[in-house]
């Protein structure tokens, strides 16, 4: 709870710091503040305290997810130092909006009451609608913001409607009480409750871009400023899945059969659409958007396997995925700058001639995304498959493995570009800080593949 309060104050402080017109202090202050938040979160580990009549519960699950999101945000802010150098106005707003979104994310990992989940989702989303439109004079950025806002509001409406229906049936917003209420029907749910739950799931599925509610994500990813895209692809996704797991895994287990069936269909569709459409993408941001949809499919697989270690596997998966995704976006931004705004994957051509070490680390990061040993991405997928296969979901596991092969195809398509020669090489400038971030993340991906962790959450 301290972490949540402190983060809120931090956001406001940064906002006011913007008045000083001194850009250089923003990122260091934000990062220092986040480090304090990190420390506060660590102190909450193992305490499991609840607030507001148990509407929010800070247990190990939420603390672990919060820590992972804070770390990723710090990495993103570190890159922000360079990214916002060119930007004259409103830099403080960018940082504080992201911090506010993080506050929403904290609520999403710790709710125990549907109203709190709603609050969390809204606090997370509204800053993002603004951030997506960060490039005021870019047509695509405006489109992204507008699209995200429209579809997001629509999903919110579904979500609220769902909450209302569930409340109408069960007369409570509390997850544990809803769970007991559901249990008394022995799988034969009244239609109102069923539709309510389905609507809630749709609302959350929209946030994590699970098919068939994924249509916004490629356009929004493509149009938004790339740093914001990186934030959406990592922190927002982690928060979304934490909320999803809290809702389904902790809140509603065992799932009623019709819901479970619907979720399995969504998983299959997500895997299929994410991977197959990614094959045809030549725009790197869109490629990562579809790949992120595909990763959602694997996380869904872990979630639906309904095993006691699912939570830890999801945490590991999202964290490893985020640690690899952020530096990939960073490399992309730098390469795009050097090639005059080219965002085709061919922009990576000749990278190994220009910066061999960056090329090596980029390969490691892509290997992790594709799930090839000895990277952490492999261990993440391995754990997911161990869950799903040992729980007996053989057919969908085989299907997921086929889709993982497709994934390897498009990730290595990028690797191939990195190691392809090009006659005309533009100079590529990489500051020491940026190179440091890329290298630390690349090493982290390998180290986490060797020292695999498993948290009791």
């Amino acid at each position: 709870m301290n972490a949540l309060i402190f983060t809120t104050i931090l956001g406001i402080i940064i906002l006011y710091l913007g008045l000083t017109k001194n850009k250089t202090i923003l990122a260091p202050t934000a990062i220092a503040g986040l480090l304090v938040t990190l420390f506060l979160s660590f102190k909450d580990w193992g305490l499991s305290s609840s607030f507001f009549h148990e509407m929010v519960i800070f247990d190990n699950f939420s603390v672990a997810f919060n820590i992972s999101m804070i770390i990723i945000t710090i990495v993103i802010f570190l890159f922000g130092v360079d990214y916002y150098k060119m930007m004259e106005l409103h830099v403080a707003e960018q940082y504080s909006l992201m911090i506010f979104a993080l506050v929403g994310a904290f609520l999403m990992t710790s709710f125990s009451n549907l109203i709190m989940l709603f609050l969390g989702i809204e606090i997370l989303s509204i800053p993002l609608y603004i951030l997506a439109g960060g490039k005021k004079f870019s047509f695509k950025s405006n489109e992204a913001s507008f699209k995200y806002f429209m579809l997001g509001s629509f999903a919110t409406a579904f979500f609220l409607f769902g909450i209302a229906l569930v409340y109408g049936a069960s007369a409570t917003f509390y997850l544990p009480e809803i769970k007991t209420y559901i249990a008394q029907f022995h799988g034969n749910l009244p239609p109102m409750l069923l539709i309510g739950l389905l609507f809630i799931i749709i609302g959350v599925a929209f946030k994590v871009a699970v098919a068939p509610f994924h249509f916004w994500s490629p356009d929004v990813y493509e149009g938004s400023p790339t740093l914001v895209t990186a934030f959406m692809a990592t922190v927002v996704k982690t928060a979304g899945f934490a909320a999803f797991y809290r809702l389904l895994g902790i809140g509603l287990l065992p799932l009623p059969v019709p819901l479970e069936k619907a979720l399995w269909v969504m998983t299959g569709l997500t895997l299929l659409i994410g991977n197959l459409v990614a094959l045809k993408q030549s725009n790197f941001k869109r490629l990562l958007a579809y790949s992120s949809i595909a990763h959602s499919g694997f996380i869904m697989l872990a979630m639906l396997s309904q095993h006691s270690s699912s939570a830890s596997v999801i945490l590991y998966y999202t964290f490893v995925y985020s640690v690899a995704t952020v530096p990939l976006f960073i490399i992309f931004i730098l390469v795009k700058r050097a090639s005059n705004g080219h965002d085709h994957i061919a922009a990576f051509q000749g990278l190994y001639k220009k910066k061999p070490w960056i090329a090596v680390f980029m390969t490691i990061l892509l290997m992790s995304m594709a799930g090839i040993p000895p990277t952490a991405g492999f261990l993440a997928k391995y754990q997911v498959f161990v869950l799903s296969i040992s729980q007996g979901y053989l057919a969908i596991s085989i299907f997921a493995i086929l889709m993982a092969i497709v994934g390897i195809y498009y990730y290595f398509n990028v690797v191939r570009e990195v190691f392809t020669d090009r006659d005309h090489l533009e100079p590529l400038v990489i500051t020491k800080l940026n190179a440091g971030i890329i290298i630390v993340c690349g090493v982290a991906v390998v180290v986490m593949g060797i020292f695999v962790w498993h948290l009791p959450i």
Partner: protein
């Protein structure tokens, strides 16, 4: 402990090479590491002590150990790997190569990963190393390959990874079947009593990865183009050691773990392999590119080895393990000569060559000896292996032996025909300034040819080495033979 040393020497040397700039030093260091490794491996092969092993716990909650060890089969594979890598490294000596530090580091990383595959004592570790062999090799092919490498390496990479992921599924499935606290140890896997009808489908899930690596018809389509495009050292690793990795994987996974599945599909696989023998031989005959021709000839020989593996009687198994060694040595020597020919003539197209014997008589003689080893002439190593294999096939069915025998007949035809077109005939005006072998070429070729001949004349030490594992493997299938008629399919 010594197994850990064998695994780490190439890896650490590889890391060091990345820091060195002088090309000659790099190559010497790589060679020194490979020779030390060879000595260490031979000390394992000829030691009388109980086998060395190493194990530490790695990922506790998944119950995965970093466990290394070996038996007779892995020892053959290890010896082959350690034996070939000095020659593979020497193939680049006294030659100009781009970025030698990176190239030799990658070669040594591949060696380390290959050794890991042969030493791994649980399926998880096996899988990690299995994939790790691919990554450095992929970059060797991508960065030093010939024409069309961009797309060909990509196809090779995706093709082999596809197989691997099925293997991964199989491993996790087996893992989920293990009792109590799950584990991926081979020793536990081999004691699972998997229902026969499960084994029937599980067979393909596991086999497909190995079939692609070897390659078995019809999973071979990546092979000819990859071999043709690959740099010499890459193709030596691919043909000399990687193919054997497929065979090793099949021996490790299929026979002990799913014997009923093996028996069920036995004839199917043998027939596929024999189709591969004939198919590859016929296509080899029609090739005009020397490297592609040898690629297909390698496929024919490997197919015969796969057939032998699935016949699973005493002679065939002995022949198989012997042939693993002999084929590895022969194919590396062959590709070395191919490289020499390409260097001297600037082409690999058979119609553009001829009369080289008149200009380079010593090369012609050594090449002839290798070709004779490859076509399994008596007194060469190839003969011992293939003779045993065909004897084994004969015990199963006369038809198998007949078609298997085509490797030798057709092999003799296309190899000697190719030899004739390259070496014999009139002097060609455009090939006037060909020189004969240099000292480094003798240093590489003479030991390889000596090995081919020595193993052909006195093969007994190898048989002693593999005796126990052949007996174990042979006994694996006997108890399940009764289960078979009850299969549902």
């Amino acid at each position: 402990m010594i197994v850990l040393v064998i695994l780490l020497i190439p890896f650490i040397t590889g890391l060091l090479l990345l820091l060195i700039r002088n090309a000659a030093t790099i190559k010497l260091m790589a060679l020194a590491s490979a020779i030390v490794n060879l000595a260490a491996t031979l000390s394992l092969a000829f030691s009388t002590q109980a086998s060395s092993s190493y194990s530490v716990s790695w990922i506790n909650f998944l119950d995965i150990n970093f466990a290394l060890g070996y038996d007779g089969t892995s020892l053959i594979m290890l010896s082959l790997t350690s034996l070939l890598f000095p020659f593979i490294i020497m193939a680049g000596m006294k030659r100009e190569q781009e970025h030698p530090g990176l190239l030799y580091a990658l070669i040594l990383f591949t060696q380390s990963a290959l050794i890991g595959v042969f030493l791994a004592q649980n399926a998880f570790l096996f899988y990690i190393f299995w994939e790790l062999t691919l990554i450095p090799l992929y970059f060797i092919l991508l960065l030093w390959g010939g024409e069309g490498r961009r797309n060909i390496t990509f196809k090779f990479f995706i093709y082999t990874l596809t197989g691997s992921l099925f293997l991964l599924f199989g491993i996790i499935y087996l893992y989920s079947l293990t009792p109590g606290l799950h584990t991926t140890d081979f020793s536990v896997f081999s004691q699972l009593n998997i229902p026969a009808n499960t084994q029937v489908w599980l067979f393909w899930v596991l086999f497909i990865a190995f079939a692609i690596k070897m390659p078995v018809f019809p999973f071979h389509t990546w092979q000819p183009s990859t071999y043709t495009m690959a740099p010499t050292q890459g193709v030596m690793i691919l043909a000399g050691v990687m193919t054997k990795m497929g065979i090793y994987g099949a021996l490790r996974f299929l026979f002990p773990i799913i014997p009923a599945g093996v028996l069920y599909w036995q004839n199917t696989v043998i027939i596929l392999s024999l189709i591969g023998v004939i198919y590859a031989s016929v296509i080899a005959f029609r090739q005009t590119n020397l490297k592609t021709l040898i690629a297909f000839s390698s496929m024919a020989h490997i197919s015969l080895m796969v057939a032998a593996m699935f016949v699973l009687n005493y002679y065939a198994l002995q022949g198989l393990l012997f042939q693993v060694l002999s084929h590895g040595i022969t194919i590396v020597a062959l590709f070395y000569v191919v490289m020499l020919i390409e260097e001297k003539t600037g082409t690999l197209e058979l119609p553009k060559m001829g009369g080289i014997k008149l200009l380079a008589p010593y090369m012609a003689i050594l090449f002839l000896l290798i070709v004779l080893g490859s076509v399994a002439l008596p007194l060469t190593a190839g003969f011992v292996g293939e003779f045993l294999i065909i004897t084994g096939l004969f015990q199963q069915s006369i038809w198998f032996a007949l078609f298997g025998g085509f490797t030798m007949v057709l092999g003799a035809i296309y190899m000697l025909y190719a030899y004739q077109r390259v070496m014999l005939g009139e002097k060609r005006p455009d090939l006037e300034n060909i020189t004969d072998l240099k000292r480094i070429d003798y240093i590489v070729l003479i030991p390889l040819i000596t090995l081919i001949l020595v193993l052909g004349i006195y093969p007994q030490p190898v048989f002693n080495l593999v005796e126990t594992s052949v007996n174990t493997m042979q006994n694996l299938l006997v108890p399940v033979a009764d289960v078979l008629p009850s299969l549902p399919l």
